[in-house]
Symmetry: C2
Subunit: 334 residues, 2 copies
């Protein structure tokens, strides 16, 4: 295509839209099921119950150390399926583009999206593009839906969580939130923090058929503290986290201290939190630590009898209550 | 919920977001599969190959005579599945909301969305909400993906279209485009035109198991002329349309004449175009005319041997070539 920037005509159903779809979307996402001329994609049958998810992406800036909105969009949806016990199979992509967007930036996002999809073993089989006028968008908004098959070896649900369960996280928390924060350059801090943006599919799959794995979740918006809160409210149990056990990078801690954020409330985009029986906690820790995506795994807490609340045990022996998130610490993080 | 307007905190994963999801989305869309606390929805198995589609919605204004962005979003995705020969089963909804949006408007959109979904026999089983800062959105952007089962009695595809096929449309064209145009109030014309926004699912289903139904499409962006173009290019055949046979409302014709638009390029959102064998054209016409959604059906053209082009036969005996759409006649129509 000859154009350098997205114009309203790229969304009108005519020639420019066809060229955009052929030269950008189909060129990088092409697969046997993706027919850009069809109204819907015909794909092979899936076995057993389906798992469906959807996630919208409005991160700002569109590119940040460790990823961009394209890789983020695939990982977000794939991870939602993975922690629900699904094997992701198909994705659909809705793109809302802003007039004036540099097409090269879109190409970089779609390339990253295609690479992440390939790595996760999923195909983007259907798509749609809309263009909104300058000043009515954020450059790129993506919405990605996913369809997966149930992994018969993973039986997960908040209702399976029991008193005494141990809580694990697969790596350092708050990296994504901090990386995006620094990439905004609003604070004059140099960005040495990379987003953890990545797939947790292998982490989830590696726990298949292990008795005692009760619940998995990826701590995105609202971070680890919000996952703990959701579990406390849903189960009626007390969640006790050990502050010194929670992996936080020094660089993330420094930035958070300077700016007054709590890394426990900042988004991860490539971490999993697991609630498992006490007797298999060390085994799960070992399995995760063998994997690149889980090399920083740690056991960080326990599910206790008590009120539905989240307590943080501090290194000096104190206890701090982690409240439900109220104000937005960091909007447009995913 | 107490708030009257959407704030950034409605998208942060915390309390306000939970209340928005519970009080607006879950309240109207609730069904057994929709668990707003889950990362993915577990739904029943589907039989045979799946059909997947996705559509983004950025219509402006958000409400217009005959519909709003909520009803439009369901019909758009359901219709894409229907004309592809699918029976729609499940939808997912991604909402990108703009800070400052009136929550009552969102409620009206979600109510309309829920009603349209119920009428089409589909459930919204998963959703996601993001909030973008004031000035970075259009109030509401929806992306709706759909999963359907293949209707074993509908074998459709552009490659099935043959020379001699007759072309039908299920009702007047350009209604949606014109209604949205007038609703923008940029032109000082009073809006007596209603959008045709609606489901074509029954129209498609009523042709199941009829030999000779080759291809269906809903003429949205780019209108009837763009569907004709896509078929001409894909099949290499000439498409000849009879201008006097194409149903266009007088009010739509008047508005288009004043403003210099061609109704053949304006979007419909509740019409289907069918390409069928000549010998069943009258039968299909009869079947469609018996239905409310198809009462204005007409046979409007024929597929001929010749170059890949679209010709419009005018009432005075002339012939006009309908070119591929270049400039955007009307952005943000769906």
């Amino acid at each position: 295509m000859n154009e350098q920037y997205i114009s309203l005509a790229h969304g009108n159903g005519g020639r420019l839209m066809r060229e955009l779809i052929d030269d950008v979307f189909a060129a990088y996402l092409g697969n046997s099921a993706l027919d850009t001329r069809a109204d819907a994609a015909l794909v092979g049958a899936l076995h057993g119950p389906l798992l469906l998810s959807v996630d919208g992406f409005a991160v700002q800036p569109l590119e940040f150390p460790g990823g961009n909105i394209g890789s983020l969009a695939v990982h977000g949806t794939v991870n939602d399926l993975a922690v629900a016990g699904a094997i992701p199979r198909y994705l659909t992509l809705s793109a809302i583009l802003e007039e004036g967007l540099e097409i090269e930036l879109l190409v970089r996002a779609i390339k990253a999206l295609a690479k992440a999809a390939t790595n996760a073993g999923v195909s983007v089989v259907a798509g749609d593009t809309k263009v909104v006028p300058r000043g009515h968008g954020g450059g790129i908004y993506f919405s990605v839906s996913g369809v997966g098959e149930q992994d018969s070896g993973l039986h997960l649900g908040m209702h399976r969580i029991q008193e005494g369960d141990r809580i694990l996280v697969s790596g350092s928390v708050g990296d994504h939130g901090t990386a995006v924060l620094l990439a905004r350059e609003e604070f004059g801090l140099s960005g040495e923090v990379e987003s953890d943006c990545g797939s947790v599919l292998e982490l989830a799959q590696s726990l298949s058929s292990i008795e005692g794995v009760h619940f998995l979740r990826d701590p995105t918006r609202g971070g680890l503290a919000t996952v703990a809160h959701e579990v406390a409210v849903a189960t009626g149990h007390r969640i006790r986290l050990e502050e010194s056990a929670i992996p936080v990078r020094d660089s993330v801690r420094s930035v958070c201290e300077i700016l007054g954020y709590d890394p426990l409330y900042l988004a991860c985009e490539g971490r999993a939190v697991a609630f498992v029986s006490a007797d298999i906690a060390e085994k799960v820790l070992y399995i995760w630590q063998q994997q690149a995506a889980g090399s920083g795994s740690a056991v960080i807490g326990i599910v206790e009898k008590g009120d539905a609340e989240v307590l943080l045990q501090t290194p000096i022996g104190g206890v701090r209550m982690l409240e439900e998130l109220e104000d937005d610490p960091l909007p447009r993080i995913c």
